[in-house]
Structure formats: structure tokens, C-alpha cells
Symmetry: C2
Subunit: 765 residues, 2 copies
């Protein structure tokens, strides 16, 4: 199969406008008569609100209006409907975490709004609080939500497959460990922002950083007590998303409530400290995992227990065990699997979804144990992985059907390519190590909602411009570019003649949203189907115009031509015009809705949740300073089964970005939360992985050409980040012989461990 | 046929936002980094430009860039491609009328831009000029476009049908007259404005006051030398249009050139004086008309010669004879018709299209002669009209096929209703008179372009919201409302669940634009077809869901129900969701393109240019002061064959607005242009018809239910304004016995005529 557009490295189409400063982000937008909003948050993580005095704020010149829970009508929202946007009102007199919103001001400028917020007086009656799951589950512990009578969140993920006990009983080796994963945050350069504007007819238009506009439309309407048909959602370009936009947040509801209150459009945009405090984090958790293998290294059983610090409210982040289970049951063949969770309310900030959510955490635990099992059994670390590798045709314990799989090739590639770099000796005072980790993830959608579909409408105009109205959301991941490529390839027209329209729920067809690495696969299939349908109509029209049979015609490089007689050809836009400019003229429009052949998990968490699955393997070469504990990453090899790389440049870019994010997770980033407060809410203190420290990256794209993917493609948006911290931890172990079970692996932690290890060596037990 | 939505008086859906100040007009919009543009125009109507010095302007702080014809690349544009946006450059060193653009400035604020414009020095070599067609056609007259070798515009409209000479030869009465129609302007409250923004990839987005976005897209691209596929056109709400938005204008091209020059978005908005000087006018003309009738009053022949002062450039306004001919040949049955034009370049401002263009002018002449013929023959003025009235089934001299016609009923209604009011005696010192005029106009599209079609895409979402993506342009005429009504009626869902999307050429399907009263008919039919198609899909889906046969189902008042068993029913949005939220889910989208069964006129100006034709008759009751010459209009009866009144409130509103505009044309408005200069470019001096002087208006909507119209509707957007000035002139004649052949009929003119008439009476010849 040869392609004109697909498979060619293609710069992202929004790139030029972004680097030349032309892009109009949500932050850049203003509306006529727009007011600026700011939010007052609690000063203490757990308290009863006795009194709110907004009088001084209201007197400040330039203030248009102030709202509190007592002045607005609001309804519970969130994954478990346990959350009200403004706290302190009837039936909800409490604040439960440091993020909690108490009042909001609309003013003529942002500065005035902030000044007014500072003038609001709140009297708190502080309450004893719980800041970790263990304390929260102790009898008599303070309750985050008294009305629930417990701090246990009602979500529980329990799964069992095969005879786990028998597996452990007959194992040649069993490893067991407890893995602690901390808070990190997306740290998007574009903070969360929202503009709300009400029409006189009670309709609401929202400009937002959401990445699931149709779910947002429904959820926001519910929170406001209006019909979903009253809400229109506009998604301007965003400066990062990474899962942050999967939930509905108080900022959105408050912007809408403020706008309704002051009868003007209202914009709220987080400043940086607020973004660190109030935007969602990755879910912190503790994974207790046991793995068993026979003497040949074949896995016999796994048993995982996960405890999650849920924070004060349930969000999509609370559902990460969904994915943790998938990894536990699906990363490598494993005949017996048990999985259970304890999800606990605390007075900490609540989490949200974040790129690869759940999977980074469980991969970190599982891949540590693959190394540890190999060590126990005296096996090569790659050999044990190859012996357990998933293969095409497998059906795993959850019932995931593996239609294409290059896991073994990914492992081989990672091994081969890192070997060359690893051969050189370490610098003096540094120890060199290599680590490996593989990855298993959904790559053909993920039916976590009742529909996993996406619609596409495709128009071809008189200038030969194809406008694709897609449900997909561009969140910087390059979806516009790859969808345009799919359309251009299928139609046989130049890429620059395809335009992608994707930012308005009143215009674009339904889509569940940008999550689970699903856009290329799902929206790509929808676009492809629409393009096929449009092409049929175009060729039928060309047959009339050219007096040929439609089946003899093809559309290649922008010309409709008779197969085998390329001299009989017409530019395709002339065919469009011939169809348009005649009596009974027509316009070429086609539409499609693609809903993948996957299924929601059953109550016992079984089902083929994705139409295809992705695999990858990473190798990390590190050096660890024996003196300071510093970990330097020299090289990452990242081999990915992508089905087909539709846009290799974008695929590599996604993986590069994932590796950067993974390096931060592994080595430097932690949102430090103590006693419910965020201690490092600034870029000076929150250590994103520094660009100058980025290692050499060698990305290998392995094409398995999945039968269900558009041109064979599978999703890969999250696969770069998922195994990285596991590979790094394994490389550190390889270098200095120490197993780190908590992230990030900072110089302090390494240094302390090195010191402790030396003292153990000196002190025989 | 009974309706739930159609035929109910329904407020315009954009009305509430407009009256509460929420509407975001183009003037309200700003873009990030947007610069403000201003245009320098010539000081003299005809000159060679010797030198342009922009140095002082460029030095002004806050100025970003200045362009002149020498600094930009531009291409001829306009109906005859005789126009460059910026004058004074290579090959075009001349200014030809007082509107002509010489330079433009982009600055940080509008004030700075205006200040900078005033700092540009231009040295002119003044040229002798021509300000009326007669002078322009004299041998040796100065040429407006030297390269053409003549001031005669190459457009000429010649038509001949039947034996005209024989008609005049055997006539019992012949009347002859010369009718002078002056400049008036649309005087939109929202002035012309344009925002241009270039993408880094060379694509251009324009926010504009156009009413023909797809023609604008093509024409602007040509003027800028880029592909039409590079131009995206956005149409924010406008404060009036009335045909003004039918041409491409220098403002649009200059905004784009400036934005390209300064690499920032640029906005240009006319201030009021500029709007009077530089926005298009109604085409001034002189009509010489002869009409012949037999003794019974039956028309035998008409012969019209029209001379048009074209101004400096050819525009759509230059094509008004197209419509003048249609009236001459089609308003009343007339077996022999001759028509010819002389269109002449002058150094006056050029015209554009304006509501009812061509038709007001010729109707004024023809209806004067209907009265005059009746007088000569001693017939009743209505009787002569009834005897010549067009009837259903007629095919007129141009070949227009009259599929529905209530002209006689319109005349009868006007006569009956005015009679009651007219019975009262005039006040002392005033003479009372009644005048009648009828109207003939296209009402089912008008194929003046190769396609007269419009597309529609209709989506139905999970909330039961139907989004109609229509090609139609909302220019304040109420198209959003009536299209939503059509969709709601056909689908059987509540009106407020239908949303209309219509302002972005990258989203909406093709449409030729808002002109010729075509939107309800053409876009309405497209919306109706899409709704029918969607309903079929919805009922097919409901058949599955409800386990019934699709043909047994109906969708009524928002419920799908089994015919005859209304208890077996489901809300339609539940059917949508059932189709969506299931394996292999689908989304409901339908599309249609409606191109009416009409034809372009042949070279000899014959053809059935519209799929339906509209008719109306108006009666005016006036009092004329014998002392001051003032004409007071007491009552207008306006009876219209509208096919079917889909939204009677909007239909009446259109007619009310047309009557107001017609009263201004008849009695008060004139854009006074002398020696090529506009002498009254302000509302203080340009006399819009005052609201307090508005007469009682009695609108009667007569429903003929045209077979091709959506639910039987025909267009009526222009029909209120067309016959009004003729009816007023006839009423004045009835009151004081004097025939006015020039508009407006001001107190000065009436007074002068009264004085002259008295002196004639006193002085026997």
C-alpha cells in the first residue's frame, strides 16, 4: 500500500500560528461587556463556615457583583455528585479541602476582582481533619462528608481471575512490594480558564479548557439546573491539557453563576499559584503488589491491593483503578489475577485525570517486580519479559482481545538500541545502569462511557477545499493535522486543501472527548468513513461529467482520472463545480459516525474495552552519582507498536513529550501537600524536568497495521509517558543495586538510600 | 393542513439579545493584537495623483504601518473588474470619485489611525470631470476610464417582445413620461466594518458585513491574488444590510492588505460621515416610459428607455435594469414590451444594490402611468389594474411562469381597506387623496448567478436539540427564526429546541447569499428537505427501538408515537439517545442542497428566473397641505400574496420596515450629490422618514400556498418597499391633481408645484 500523505512527517498545522504568536488562546479572548471574575478559596482545609461578609468587597469601585452559596442556586456535580461549586451555603456549610471555593467576584478588571476577593471576610470554625487514608479509616476519624457516615468512597474495583492462591502456592519465586506514588500536576502553560456568556433566552455559551465538550455540556447543564440543549461549548486553543480537561470544575460553574448574577459575560482565568493549588493532580496512591512466577520465569499470579487518597471529592481521577487493573491483568500474560481497591476521602485536594492515568502507577509496580522476579530466578530481565509477552490473538484475563501486538519486537528493539549506548563506561564516581519497562494500553478507544463514538461531517467546496467538521478536540496533540491527513489521503487531494473544524458543540458532531489515546483511532475512522462516502459521491458525479463509468474512475493527486488512461482527467474541484453550477445543482457533503466494536466493562470488570491495544517498551540508560545521589539520564529508547504511524513527526513528538513528562514523574516532580496544603505552588519550587537535562531519545515506531485502525493506526498519545518511571527505577537499580518504590527518585532520596545501604553493609545484621 | 409552529406569530430569536444589548456586532469584536485601520480618501472627485507623502503619518507614535497602492499588490475587482482598492499606484494613477481610497493606516487605536490619515499629504493634478450621463456622453467629454475610450459602460439591457409599434399605433390612449430617481442610501445603523486576520499559513479570516459570504470569499481571494480556499468568512450580527453587503468593497480588500502589511489583525469600521460618503447608494436613473392601452384599459405596449448614472465603477448596482425590465415586462399583463438602457460612467460615487433594487424605480414609473391611462380613458384606477392583473398560469413576456398569483385579491383588499379610512374629510387647508400601486417581484429565488442553491446540514443531539447549519445569512430579516420554524414544524419538535448556525463559510454549506427575497424560499426548502430526511432516519430508528413499523410512526409535539395509538409513544430525544448509546451507535445527521427549478436569463433576457413570483398592492391615504406643500401619510394598506405566511409577525415586520424605507424614498430621503460631492453626509441632514410621522399600517397577508415553496411560502423581503413611492405619488396626484415624476416629493417640491399650478390657472395660455 503506498500513500501520498499518510506516513509522511508533517508539521502540526497549528504550529506556525503558535510559534509566531498568532494563536488566540482562551486567555487572549475578550467579549464585549465582559467582566473579570476571581474566586475566594478557603484558608483552612476543613472547617465550618460561620459567616461570610462581602460588604467591603461590594463597596470596592469597579466591583460588579459578588456571589456566595447563599445567593445562587446550584446543584451537586462531579463523578459522584458529592460536590457543590460554592461552599458555605444551605446544606453545605463546610469546606473540605484547601481548594474549596467560598465566594466569587465579578469586576471591571482582573486586578479589582482580586482586590475584592481579598476584602471578603470569612469566619471559620476549624474542624479536625484527615490527611491520609489510614487516619481517615480509623474509627472515630473526622468525616469529610458527615452525611455519608464514612470516609470510604463508594467506588470499589474488585477483580478476580484464575486461581491466584494456587499460583502463589506453586511459584518458584514470589516478589512483593509496596509502591508509593505521589501528587504531580499537569503544570499546563495555559492555566485553566473559562468565559461564560448568557443569552437573553437563557442559553449559555462557555469558552473553556475542557477536552470532553459534550460531557461538559451535559454536566454543566445539570450543575446549573438547565437543559443540556441550552449549553453551547466553545474550545479555543489551549496551552496544554493532559487530562486536566476531563472533569467539570467549580471554575466553570462559578463563571456561569457569576455571569448570570451580573448579567454580563464573565471570564475567570487562574493565575499560576492558583493553577497549582486548584487544578487537578495525578491521583496519589499506594499499591501493594505480589507477583509469582515459575522457574522458567512464566508468571503464575498477581495480587494487587491499591489504596487511593481520594481527597475531598470524587472525580474521574478516582477511577484510575480501572486502568491500574487493566495493567495488572494485561501487562504480560498472567493466568491468575486478583485486584482490589480502597478509595478514601481525605481533606486533601482531590485529583483528576492525567495522561496515562492509573497506568503509570501500576506499570511502575509491575515492571519493578518483573526485574525482581528475574533477579530471584537468575534470568535475563528481557528474557523474562519476552517469555511473558502478550502476542497477537491473545485474550487476556479481562477479556481484552489483542488484534495486533508487537510487544516482543518492541522489547527486542529497546534492548538492541540501548546496548550500543550502554557499552561506554561510566564517568568516575558515577554508576551506570540500564533499565527496561514495557507498556500495555488501550489504543482503539475505551468504552468508559455509553458511547465511544465520534461523528464527522465532510464538505467539499467549489475551491476544492474539504472542510471536516469533526467531533474530536484538538488539545495540542495534533489531531487536526492527522485528521486532515486521513481525509487528504482517502480523497486523493492535497493536504493543504483540507480544513478541520472542531471547536464548537453547536457545529461539530458528537464525540466522547479527547482521552484514552482514542482520537486518531476513533475520530480518524469517522473521518475516513466520511471521506470514503464523499469520494463515492464525487466519482459518481465525475462519471456524469466525464461520461465514464464511476468504477473506472480514481481520484489521485487532486485529479479525477480514468484508471489506466491518466490523460483522461479533470481537476477534482472542476467536478465539484460542474455538479454545483448546473440546473438541480448539488453540493458535496458526507457524514459518518464511527462507534468502535468495543464494550463497557461488566460489573465484574470484564470486557473488550477497546477495539485495539497498544504496546511499547522503553529502555533507559542512566548514571547515578555515588556522591550526591543525582540520577542523570543519558538515553531513552522508546519502541512503540503504533499500528501505523500516520504522521511520524507527530507520533515522535507525542512520545518525546511523554518521555519528558515521565522523566519529571520519575526524577523531579512532586506537588508537596502537607496537612492538606500545597507547599510548592510555583515553578521555582515545583521541579518540572529541565529541558537541558533531556537525554538523547531514540523513538522507534513499529507498524503492525491493525485491521480496525484508520489505515491501520492505533492510538499512542499516552504510551510515551507510561513505562518511563518504571524503566528509570529499574535502571537505577541496575546502576546502584537499590530498589526505589517511591517517586520521584530525587538526589536526596538516592543519597539517603546510598548512605543507608553503606551503613547496612558496614553493620552486619 | 394544520401546523404547530408554522403560521404562528413568533418573535425573532435574535431580538431579545438585541434589545438587551447582548448582541455582539462586528463593531464590538476585538481580536488579540488587533490594530485599527483608517482610510484616506481623495479630496477631489477626478484627479491624477502626483505624489503621496506618508512620512509624517509613519512617524506618529502608535502608527504601525501605512499602505499605498505602490506598496501592495492588488488586482482589479468589482462587477466589471474596473476597480482597484487603492488608487494612485502603477497603471492606476487616478482618483475617479470622491470615495476613492488613496492610502490606509494601521495604528494601535482608531484615533491614532484617523490622526495619521490626516497627516498624509497628497498632491493632486485636478482633471475636468463629468457629473451626469448627458455630459459624460458628449463628444470630447473627460473620460472616467481613459483606457476604455468611452464613458459608456459595456453593460446594456435590451429586450423586445411583441409588436410594440403596432401596440402604440392602435392604442386608445398613450401616456408618456420621464421619471427621475435620485440617490438614497441604506443608512444602516451599523456602519460597514471589516476585520482581517491572516494565519501563518497564508490563510485569511474576514469578519465582514457581507450578505453574500461565498461570493465574497471568491471575489476577495481574486482581488488579493490568493486561492478562494484560503479565505474564511465570518458574518457577525449586522446593524442593517438592505443590499449593502452584496458587493465586495475597498474596505474589505484594504483591511486584508493592511493586515498582511503589519502582520496583525486589522479592523476598519466606518464612522458615520464615512458611511454616508463611502457606502453604496441606490442607483440614480432616469426612466423614459411610454404605455399604451386600448379603450377598455387593456395594456397594448410599453416602451422604456433607462439612463443610469453609473458613477466611477461598475457594481451590482449597475445591474438594476435587470429588475427594471422584469417590472416593465411583468407588472400587469402587457403583450408588447421594449426596453433599453444607457449606463454611463461619471465622476459621481458609484451605487450598489439596495432593497428592491430596480423595482422601486420602474414601479414608480409604471404605476404612475396606470393612473394616467385610467384618467385618459375615464376608467377607475383599480378597474384598469384589475383588467390587466397577472393571474395564476400566466407566462409573461420574459417567460416567467406564474405558478401562484393573488394580485387581484391584493388589489381588492387594498381598495376595500383604504376606503374606510378615506371616507373621513380632510382637515381644513389640506387635500385628501388615495393612491394605489401594485408590485411584481421574484419570490422563489432569482438565478442571477450560476447557482441559486442553498445547502443545509441538520444534526439532532442527545438533548433533542436540532442544529441547522444553513447556508443562509441572517441580516436582521429573521431568517434564523423562520428556518428554525420550518425545521421544528417538519420534525414535530418544540421551536426552542432548534438552533441555527449560519455565520461561518468554513462551517455552513454553500448559498448564493441574502438577496432577491430568496432566503425563506430557498434556504427554507433546503432546511425542509434536510428535516424530512432526518425525520425518516429518526422514525426508522424509533421503529427499531419501539419494535413497530416505521410507516406506522409519527413525530408530534416532541413525541414519536404510533399513529392511532398515542399511548404508545416516546420522547424523541430518547429515541436519539437509544440510537446513540448502543453498540454500533449512530448520530442523526442529514443534509440537503436545494437548487430551485429556475433558469438564468438568456442573452435576449428571457427565462423563468424564479421558481415563484410575489405580488402585492398598496393603498396610501395622504393629506397634502395646500399652504406648505407638506404631505402627511395617514394610512397604508399593504396586501401581499406571500404564498404562506410562515411567521406572520416577521412577515408584517418586513413589510412595516419596507414601508418605512419606502416613505423615506417617496417623501424625505435624498443623498444630495453635487459636482461629485456628498453634501449631506449626516443624519441631521439626510432625512430618514421620522418615526413619529409613521402612518397607520394595515398589512394583509394573502396565502396562495405556492406548490414549490416551503409549506407554500414565497419570498417577501422586498415587497413592502417596492410599490410605496408609486402609491404615494398617486395619492398626491389624487389629492392635488399634480403628477410628481421625481422623488422625494418634499414640501418644497410640492409647494413649488402648487405655486406653479396656481399661476398657470391664473394665466391662460
Amino acid at each position: 500500500m503506498s500513500f501520498d500523505v499518510i506516513g509522511k512527517a508533517t508539521p502540526k498545522r497549528d504550529g506556525l500560528d503558535k510559534v509566531t504568536g498568532r494563536t488566540q488562546y482562551l486567555h487572549d479572548l475578550t467579549l464585549p461587556r465582559m467582566a473579570h471574575g476571581a474566586i475566594l478559596r478557603t484558608e483552612v482545609p476543613h472547617a465550618r463556615i460561620v459567616r461570610i461578609d462581602t460588604a467591603a468587597a461590594e463597596r470596592l469601585p469597579g466591583v460588579i457583583g459578588v456571589i456566595t452559596a447563599d445567593r445562587v442556586e446550584q446543584r451537586p456535580f462531579g463523578y459522584a455528585k458529592d460536590h457543590l461549586a460554592l461552599k458555605g451555603g444551605p446544606g453545605n456549610r463546610k469546606v473540605r479541602c484547601i481548594r474549596d471555593e467560598i465566594a466569587a467576584v465579578a469586576a471591571e478588571t482582573e486586578d479589582i476582582a482580586q482586590e475584592a476577593v481579598a476584602l471578603i471576610e470569612v469566619e471559620y470554625e476549624e474542624l479536625p481533619a484527615v490527611f491520609d487514608p489510614a487516619s481517615a479509616l480509623r474509627p472515630g476519624a473526622p468525616l469529610v462528608h458527615e452525611e455519608m457516615g464514612t470516609n470510604l468512597v463508594s467506588l470499589r474495583y474488585q477483580f478476580s481471575h484464575g486461581d491466584v492462591e494456587a499460583g502463589f502456592a506453586r511459584a518458584a519465586a514470589v516478589v512483593e512490594g509496596t509502591y508509593r506514588l505521589n501528587y504531580v500536576t499537569t503544570a499546563c502553560l495555559g492555566t485553566m480558564a473559562s468565559i461564560a456568556s448568557w443569552g437573553a433566552d437563557g442559553s449559555l455559551t462557555m469558552w473553556t479548557t475542557t477536552q470532553v465538550p459534550f460531557l461538559y455540556q451535559r454536566d454543566l447543564a445539570e450543575a446549573l439546573g438547565i437543559g443540556g440543549d441550552r449549553v453551547r461549548v466553545i474550545q479555543p486553543p489551549v496551552g496544554g491539557s493532559f487530562g486536566r480537561g476531563l472533569d467539570l470544575y467549580p471554575i466553570d460553574i462559578i463563571a456561569a453563576l457569576l455571569a448570570r448574577h451580573v448579567r454580563r459575560p464573565v471570564k475567570i482565568a487562574f493565575e499560576r499559584v492558583e493553577e497549582f493549588i486548584a487544578s487537578p493532580t495525578r491521583e496519589p496512591c499506594v499499591i501493594h503488589l505480589r507477583s509469582a512466577a515459575d522457574a522458567s520465569g512464566r508468571l503464575l499470579a498477581r495480587d494487587a491491593r491499591v489504596v487511593i487518597d481520594n481527597g475531598a471529592y470524587v472525580s474521574w481521577g478516582s477511577t484510575t483503578p480501572y486502568v491500574m487493573l487493566s495493567t495488572t491483568a494485561g501487562l504480560y500474560r498472567c493466568p491468575a489475577v486478583r485486584f482490589d481497591t480502597t478509595i478514601v476521602y481525605t481533606n486533601n485536594p482531590y485529583s483528576g485525570s492525567m495522561r496515562g492515568y492509573g497506568n503509570l502507577e501500576s506499570t511502575f509496580a509491575i515492571e519493578a517486580q518483573m526485574d525482581d522476579l528475574a533477579e530471584r530466578l537468575g534470568l535475563d530481565r528481557l528474557e523474562i519479559r519476552r517469555r511473558n509477552a502478550t502476542r497477537t490473538g491473545d485474550v487476556n484475563p479481562q477479556g481484552n482481545v489483542i488484534t495486533s501486538c508487537a510487544m516482543t519486537e518492541c522489547l527486542d528493539t529497546a534492548e538492541r538500541e540501548i546496548a550500543r549506548a550502554a557499552a561506554a563506561p561510566a564517568r568516575p564516581g558515577w554508576k551506570r545502569g540500564v533499565g527496561f519497562a514495557a507498556m500495555f494500553h488501550v489504543a482503539g478507544g475505551a468504552r468508559v462511557y455509553r458511547s465511544d463514538g465520534c461523528g464527522a461531517i465532510l464538505r467539499l467546496d467549489d475551491f476544492g477545499k474539504a472542510s471536516l467538521l469533526t467531533g474530536a478536540s484538538e488539545i495540542g496533540q495534533g489531531s487536526e493535522t492527522v485528521l486532515a491527513m486521513i481525509v487528504a489521503e482517502e480523497l486523493g487531494i492535497p493536504l493543504e486543501r483540507v480544513e478541520v473544524i472542531n471547536s464548537d458543540t453547536s457545529v461539530k458532531p458528537w464525540d466522547v472527548g479527547a482521552h484514552a489515546s482514542r482520537t486518531t483511532f476513533i475520530a480518524g475512522n469517522a473521518a475516513l468513513q466520511a471521506a470514503r462516502s464523499l469520494k463515492r459521491r464525487l466519482l459518481a458525479l465525475a462519471a456524469e461529467v466525464m461520461d465514464e463509468k464511476a468504477e473506472d474512475l480514481e481520484l489521485v493527486s487532486g485529479r479525477v482520472r480514468v484508471q489506466g488512461r491518466p490523460e483522461r482527467s479533470l481537476p477534482y474541484e472542476r467536478v465539484v463545480r460542474a455538479g454545483h453550477f448546473r440546473p438541480g445543482g448539488q453540493a458535496l457533503v458526507a457524514e459518518a459516525f464511527y462507534d468502535p466494536p468495543n464494550e463497557m466493562l461488566s460489573k465484574d470488570l470484564r470486557g473488550n474495552v477497546s477495539a485495539a491495544y497498544g504496546f511499547a517498551a522503553q529502555a533507559a540508560l542512566v548514571e547515578v552519582s555515588e556522591e550526591t545521589g543525582e540520577v542523570r539520564v543519558l538515553k531513552i529508547v522508546s519502541a512503540h507498536d503504533v499500528g501505523r504511524a500516520l504522521n511520524p513527526m507527530a507520533a515522535e513528538g507525542q512520545i518525546h513529550g511523554g518521555i519528558h513528562m515521565g522523566l519529571g514523574y520519575a526524577l523531579s516532580e512532586e506537588l508537596v501537600i502537607r496537612e492538606g496544603r500545597v507547599l510548592n505552588p510555583q515553578f521555582m519550587e515545583y521541579a518540572l524536568f529541565p529541558a537541558p537535562d533531556m537525554p538523547e531519545i531514540d523513538v522507534r515506531l513499529i507498524e503492525t497495521v491493525d485491521e480496525s485502525g484508520p489505515f491501520g493506526a492505533k492510538g499512542l498519545g499516552e504510551s510515551g509517558v507510561i513505562p518511563l518511571s518504571a524503566a528509570i527505577a529499574n535502571a537505577v537499580k541496575d546502576a546502584i543495586g537499590l530498589r526505589f518504590t517511591e517517586l520521584p527518585i530525587t538526589p536526596q532520596r538516592v543519597h539517603a538510600a546510598l548512605v543507608a545501604a553503606r551503613s547496612t553493609e558496614r553493620t552486619p545484621r
